[in-house]
Subunit: 413 residues, 2 copies
């Protein structure tokens, strides 16, 4: 096989996860151990850094095993992130062309022949566009996307790196919230709001504590239309069974008319500054329960810790995230380009996966939602099949090293 | 020494913590290993359970080391909790007397001669009142309080069991939030709201990540009057230094006129049901920054996970919580009564503590706030002395055992 030699660049894009640096570490490990790649550059803040020429030399920064291992357990994007969307590569307007010309002149100037981009759906769009432009301008380059998103909503892969750790944080936190809520004898409802605008994967993970005996009473995903009357009936029924009712809801719940639950509940309400007050879905449901059922109620928003809690990441997720990063390098070196790396589940029992890839155009800008068979008939819980899919993804505990009681993190400046 | 023999009862009261079951495990260990105590009963839901006669036999339930060790790492009150306040023991009204008569007739019927109550300030009030009544009615009983509260606001002890684990969760979470917030280049403010109505101990723990290099930019405690103009000036100044500003605030911040920050910001605002909408302090400050500074801003409420996150508890806290539970048993057996157990810091370097005790009447119903020397002059940060006090309390990681990726918890029914 003919060798394709040159330097490489890697960037991170989109929202942080607890595993995006594990994939970065995988790419670094892969690049350091292959002869085809000279220097591996890290682009600071994704394509923004490539446009600005702000890069670092990862080959020099990470030759110590200890540092690479700490990087794997550092949350959020160590290289920094961006949310930049590239113009249409077929658009021949001067502005559009200028962006690509700048990018490719930067690649040429550093002899960058390998491009790795770790990100979510939007980032795969960047990979797809760069692939098209590279073909158009005849610059020989291997361009690979590596997915990461806590949302698990990327097509073509059994699950996304980063999802398992977020799911684990949610499952562990919900199991603790369940203990916390069980201590009093007063009737009380606790609404836990979980991330996920369009797909309910993360909220589904709230079902997992039931494997240990006790799970939330009710779980509502954005895959189903949310109906207040059904919700009140469900909660009332649950309150008959025991005093403390825990409900997990996705931030993306919508009513039959398409409005978000949070949105609908704030109509006409504004704060002291006259601004429309946008509360979350959990807060809206908290107020609704207070009004309609009248018992003690509170809402808990798991918030950004869902995506950056490296202190209790899934060992399965971190290991797979490293592997898929390494595999992206091997795949590119072996000749692939314009692909997104995937995780293929080759066996359920024992759980076993292997890295794969898909054509990027089949993936970019599409969303994978939770399938019907994972959601119960009444739309207020997760089926055993759903639990079986999710459970292996949170297995094993990945802990960072600690110094002085605080997690050791890698900061790239 | 004359032996004082009989059965014992232990109850838990007040809000959950990650360490209250560690103290319970300590009391069980102490009781199991001493000849003076026959059966150790557990009162379900504190004094409520003693009044209702709903107790369990802890001596029988916990003879396996594995189960005791799992109990130490199970969050929230395994025996259930209550918030009941006993009447004045000197009040001779029929209702008041009836409560005590019922309690003591229950104690007599089971020959309960040792009473251990694990709880916060309100629970020490229960211990004080029972001591008075026992003296009055001439029932020989040794009555001991063991403090637990995440708030660390109990007098007479260097710190409270439960505080270190909550502080660790906060320090670890804030260090992860700092990483999460650092990934973008856009100017953004993140307000982290931390528990503590009257004392800022938990919010002060947000300062700890700076030991690792990077801490929050600003920290505001309820020990200082909150001033919006100073806050805006502080944030504006911080935004000049770097794009991502992280601010830790206590839920209990008050304005010069005594109103809570959250309270003040909602005047006149109500939700669709016409209810006054009570947002948190973080949300109020988020809205204020949006209005006045105009940059991207969000708020994160750490919420109840602060008090129940056993998945990353402080090993120091858990060990001390067990010890103080054991020591309460020894102290009672040796003849003490009407005392609250304390933790005495006997050395700073190396950090070393030992269990002690204080007269309950010196402690009940008083609040210990963060001293001036721990707060910087401008009232927007924690001094090195404050950090030195806090840091040893979060040292070491206490992890629960996991099964199928989920924490093993002990549930007493």
């Amino acid at each position: 096989m003919e060798q394709f030699k040159g330097n490489a660049i890697v960037g991170q894009s989109g929202g942080p996860t607890a595993a995006i640096n594990a994939t970065l570490a995988g790419v670094i490990r892969g690049a350091l151990s292959c002869r085809e790649i000279g220097t591996l550059y890290g682009a600071l803040h994704g394509v923004e850094g490539m446009l600005a020429g702000t890069v670092c030399d990862l080959s020099a920064l990470f030759h110590e095993e200890e540092k690479l291992s700490a990087l794997e357990k550092t949350p959020a994007a160590a290289l920094g992130s961006c949310r930049m969307r590239l113009p249409d590569p077929n658009d021949d307007s001067p502005e559009g062309k200028a962006v690509y010309e700048r990018l490719f002149s930067f690649f040429r100037s550093r002899d960058i022949r390998y491009f790795f981009y770790i990100g979510g759906n939007d980032s795969m769009d960047t990979v797809a566009k760069l692939s098209v432009y590279a073909g158009k301008c005849g610059y020989a380059m291997r361009i690979m996307g590596v997915p990461k998103t806590i949302d698990n909503d990327v097509m073509g892969t059994d699950h996304t790196p980063g999802f398992g750790s977020a799911a684990k944080y949610i499952a562990v936190s919900v199991s603790e919230i369940l203990r916390d809520c069980a201590v009093y004898t007063v009737k009380a409802v606790t609404v836990v709001e979980i991330m996920g605008r369009d797909a309910g994967w993360l909220t589904a993970a709230a079902a997992l504590p039931r494997v240990n005996g006790v799970g939330p009473d009710l779980i509502y995903l954005p895959e189903r239309v949310f109906d207040y009357e059904q919700f009140f009936a469900d909660v009332t029924e649950a309150l008959k069974r025991h005093p403390s009712v825990v409900v997990a809801v996705s931030e993306g719940l919508r009513l039959a008319d398409g409005r978000y639950v949070g949105e609908a509940s704030q109509s006409g309400v504004s704060d002291v500054f006259g601004h429309k007050y946008l509360a979350g879905t959990g807060k809206a449901l908290e107020n609704a329960v207070k009004e309609r059922i009248g018992c003690k109620v509170r809402s808990v928003e798991l918030n950004i810790l869902q995506r950056c809690a490296s202190h209790v990441a899934s060992a399965t997720d971190i290991a797979e995230s490293v592997e898929v990063g390494k595999a992206a390098v091997s795949a590119a070196v072996s000749g692939l380009t314009g692909k997104m790396m995937t995780i293929r589940r080759v066996s359920d029992s024992p759980y076993q996966t292997e890295p794969g890839w898909e054509d990027i155009e089949k993936i970019a800008n599409r969303v994978k939602t939770v399938p019907d068979r994972f959601i119960n008939e009444r739309g207020n819980g997760i089926t055993d099949e759903g639990v079986s899919y999710l459970l292996p993804l949170i297995r094993g505990e990945s802990y960072p090293a600690y110094r002085d009681g605080l997690p050791v993190q890698v900061i790239i400046k």
